[in-house]
């Protein structure tokens, strides 16, 4: 089975801190995604990556950046955390072109105080 692992289930950070959320997948997938989940809004795409060192903005990239130095690892970075970034963050991966079923991690619930 595909496994997508997010490094933390729960995080509490202070306003202004730099925050790193880590995601690792073990199936050699080309595509990796970061979503944010908020009640009543479903999942919204923050960034995605289709190859090592390649990235594209999603629907809500403001306040975030990403890094993909290795194929299996995709990091989401909050440069200066703010309270409106309190949310559930979900990482996903999928095989490249032509197959678009995504596999999700368990999520990281981030609280910014």
């Amino acid at each position: 089975d595909v496994k997508v692992t997010q490094s933390s289930r729960y995080l509490v950070k202070r306003t202004g801190e730099k925050v790193f959320l880590e995601c690792v997948q073990d199936m050699d997938h080309e595509n990796m995604f970061w979503y944010r989940q908020d009640p009543g809004l479903g999942l919204r795409l923050i960034y995605f990556s289709y190859d090592v060192k390649m990235k594209e903005k999603g629907d809500i990239p403001e306040g975030y950046s990403v890094s993909r130095e290795k194929k299996e690892r995709f990091s989401l970075i909050l440069e200066s955390a703010s309270t409106n970034q309190t949310s559930m963050y979900l990482c996903a991966s999928s095989i490249g072109q032509g197959t678009i079923e995504a596999f999700f991690g368990q999520g990281t619930r981030l609280t910014v105080v």
Binding site: V4, N31, F33, Y35, G40, L41, G42, L43, R44, L45, F48, Y50, E56, G58, L90, A92, S94, G96, Q97, G98, T99, I100, E101, A102, F104, G105, Q106, G107
Partner: protein
Amino acid sequence: AQSVTQLDSHVSVSEGTPVLLRCNYSSSYSPSLFWYVQHPNKGLQLLLKYTSAATLVKGINGFEAEFKKSETSFHLTKPSAHMSDAAEYFCVVSDLGDSWGKLQFGAGTQVVVTP
């Protein structure tokens, strides 16, 4: 551009009765459509997917969905609800013309199952 509308934010059913979760989509190309389920404190799990083959799609746990192009709908059904079906369900669309496989999620439908 693609979008998804889930017509009900909450659905409450009695155990043993049918479940219907409604989803309408818009898509510029030929869409792929999915239903995902999220149980409390769990990640998202794929229930079923439509990718331009049979319009009636069977998934896991007795769920099925029918793709109706004329109505731009992809409603999810189950003939008999079980307590374990209590969860949040997401309808998702992806354009086959989008090679990166970006998924557009609906807002979700929370399902409550009462004994």
